[in-house]
Symmetry: C2
Subunit: 474 residues, 2 copies
């Protein structure tokens, strides 16, 4: 046994003492932790360690720090950018927060809920609902993603337009630093100007600056009624005009504004033909959602006024208002089926971008034309959260082409064309998915150099040994 192996064994013994032998996994099939759910990254951990408390997390971090052993924190393992699985070296500890899954407290009068990092998002949503309140963060992975993961990645989802992303829904954090100290920063305060904003610094840092162990989240009153509609627009310009009208007429009642281009819904029609499409074959379909604090009748009146005005102004050509919860769900289901339909259709090149809303029509026109000129027949699956300026702008190979071959040879050039246009328009190359491993090199190329230098300085300051999720983000 060489020195390195002896060191590793000593560390594992220490970890077993801290968290119990049953929670230090080194054998058997560990792919639940070592393989990301898109099956794009497969690593090999020194061990999967599952602490059951904040003090145990701190003890694990201190032991790893003493051994110079890197740590990869993981929540529900539903990330999209390869930030939550170990590398292939077999030298990293995979620290799973999944046993820390309790809702610690609900404070109804303060509209806050405190949950541990491994608590599943749906559990938080349900706990809020049981208290007669709303936790609005909602995204496809909510049945398995965790509080810690959604905060570490600053997750977005479908309610950002009204309630903000994960960052906007967090008031306080508990976290373990790179040297194993615990920051007791849980707080249900809406105002606190006592020093630097460490909370927002750690949120979105993808486990590279500290390990989140718990958070105090903001709850909202439940709306009394929700209305959903699909509307047909002839152009993206018309979608932007409808958005402005909806913001003006519905104010903060506007809680959803999603767009889908014709091709994205055509893919849904092809692969999920049983899903009813109320407005078939229109250039752009908008999903609008209103949440109303008064009630059904009032909500319907406002909603129908918005749509009638838009019809009269020619902003929309047609509209279908959901008449039941089932119809509303079916409309959202259409929207949410686009990524699945894309998978059925075959490989594609995904971009999770954001732009100022005002620039989206011109960006799409110019970028679509540039892509078509260079790759005739290329198809765009263009959909997303227009209200947030966030598009999932995905490029599918021409129908006649071999998708795998197209991706193999053209992906870098496609990415360059799209990202160049995004940056030229003041946009972001990662709106809600993060950087992780997937976009680290792209970030180094494209981020403002002063910002990069500041980020690196912060990383060195808070994790001088570079042991927290190394190689991710920076």
């Amino acid at each position: 046994m060489n020195g390195r192996a002896a060191m590793a064994r000593a560390l594992l013994d220490t970890l077993r003492r801290h968290v119990g032998a049953a929670h230090v996994l080194t054998e058997g099939d560990l792919s639940a932790w070592e393989l990301d759910w898109r099956k794009r990254w497969r690593g090999k951990a020194l061990a999967v360690v599952r602490p059951g408390s904040t003090d145990e997390v701190a003890a694990v971090v201190r032991a790893c720090a003493a051994h110079g052993t890197p740590i990869v924190p993981q929540g529900g393992n539903t990330g999209l950018v390869g930030a939550g699985v170990p590398d292939g070296s077999g030298t990293q500890v995979l620290l799973s927060l999944s046993r820390m899954n309790r809702v610690r407290e609900i404070d109804r009068a303060n509209l806050t809920l405190t949950a541990e990092a491994g608590c599943v998002l749906q559990t938080v949503q349900q706990a809020a609902e049981d208290a007669g309140l709303l936790f609005p963060l909602s995204l496809a992975a909510e049945g398995s993603c965790t509080v810690g993961g959604t905060l570490a990645t600053n997750a977005g989802g479908t309610q950002v337009l009204r309630y903000g992303n994960a960052r906007a829904l967090c008031l306080g954090l508990e976290a373990v630093t790179a040297n194993g100290d615990v920051w007791h920063g849980l707080a249900g305060l809406r105002k606190d100007n006592t020093g630097y904003d460490l909370r927002d610094l750690l949120i979105g840092s993808e486990g590279t600056l500290a390990i989140l162990t718990a958070a105090t989240l903001t709850l909202h009153p439940r709306p009394a009624a929700t209305m959903t509609a699909l509307a047909a627009c002839a152009s993206l310009e018309a979608c932007v005009a409808l958005l402005a009208a909806a913001q003006q007429q519905l104010g903060p009642g506007l809680t959803g504004f999603e767009v889908m281009n014709a091709f994205s819904l055509a893919l849904v029609a092809r692969h999920f033909p049983r899903l009813h499409q109320p407005l078939p074959n229109v250039p752009w379909t908008v999903l609008v959602e209103l949440s109303d604090s008064e009630g059904e009748a009032h909500a319907r009146g406002r909603f129908e006024a918005l749509l009638a005005d838009a019809l009269e102004a020619g902003t929309i050509g047609d509209a279908a208002v959901a008449e039941s919860v089932a119809q509303s769900r079916a409309m959202w289901h259409l929207r949410e089926s686009i990524p699945l339909a894309q998978s059925e259709e075959g490989l594609n090149i995904k971009h999770d971008i954001s732009l100022p809303v005002s620039r989206i029509p011109a960006f799409c026109a110019a970028t679509g034309a540039a892509l078509a000129a260079r790759w005739p027949g290329v198809r765009l699956v263009n959909f997303g959260h227009l209200g947030d300026g966030n598009l999932h702008y995905n490029v599918q190979a021409p129908a006649a082409a071999d998708a795998a071959a197209f991706l193999g040879s053209e992906e870098p050039a496609v990415n360059k064309l799209v990202f160049d246009a995004v940056v030229a328009n003041g946009g972001s190359i990662s709106a809600e998915h993060g950087i992780g491993e997937l976009k680290r090199d792209e970030l180094a190329l494209r981020k403002d150099p002063t910002a990069l230098a500041m980020m690196r300085a912060v990383k060195r300051a808070l994790d001088p040994q570079g042991l927290l999720n190394p190689g991710r983000v920076l």
Copy 2:
């Protein structure tokens, strides 16, 4: 001439070359920059330097960094904690952003406005209004405080309940780092997960991590109608119950919820007897504001329903609804006259605290009793933004006592009693005013030690020479 003086002269020559001799002030009455507006801190600057552009700010910072000369950035000089004036040494450069006062751009479709750091808040409000939109940040100093200053201190004000504080209204920053590099981080993006959240790290850092030169701010649709009322509550518990009802019934339409105890309005009655008090002599007066996206009639209906329900439930004993804009202004004027009435009454000990809303009644009962037990006859001016959990909890000497003598001997003990109770209840000792010089020692004593260590590490990382606003915050 000694070496130090020669060095200083060389620096001043360099600064004059960069910004023009007219904008490097070293003589005459500089108290507009050297004395804070509360007249609590008077410093002496090496020079007041007034750059006219971001590049000039960067040049000034590089020159100062090369000479090891500290820089104190200043906006409108309306801060409350002594963070914006130089110390008395005559060795610090006071960097005034006041010449950088332009609104650079309004993007109506994107609901954003980009302004320079020295732009006065009221100018931003007016520019938004001229575009048919709303910039909701509003506070007493809005006629002279600046964009840079409100962001550097993460200012709060009267609209936080609905729109958030300054941090929540900023999407992007332009800033000059401690070594004189420019971070071009202006962006009108509502979603951007490309690395660490430097924006929120700099916001609220009181000029100690970088110098803000411009910001992209979020605008909102203007409400169609606003309603204001005063309501009488028998207790703070009743105020909290009214808040919960208002949040449930008005949803995001609730834009103001201020409380005032009987003594604070009694002071207003004594010193401003001509101000009409619609609900005299009640234990607690609540100011409620509704902003409605539909119109006057609809707003009135909702508002009166809320108040009628609360009357029936016994939550409030009486209410007065403003019937005109003038009456609404008069109600806000009552609230805003409290600090002035306090000044007229004499010296007092101010606390800008926040607590979980749920704990406020018990905190006030216990702390009020403890103060009264130790200092019989002590009077509490207790008012503030209950909806945000933020109280201005001010302690006035007993009526018979000499206020100056009372403060001179008792202020530390009063502060200790109040802050101990705040911390024990999970609160903050500075909700919206910041730390600056005033509360730096208190922060060092009371902040979580891990948080303090992280803040110090971040400060060292981003300002290794310690030249940016030294001695403030940390």
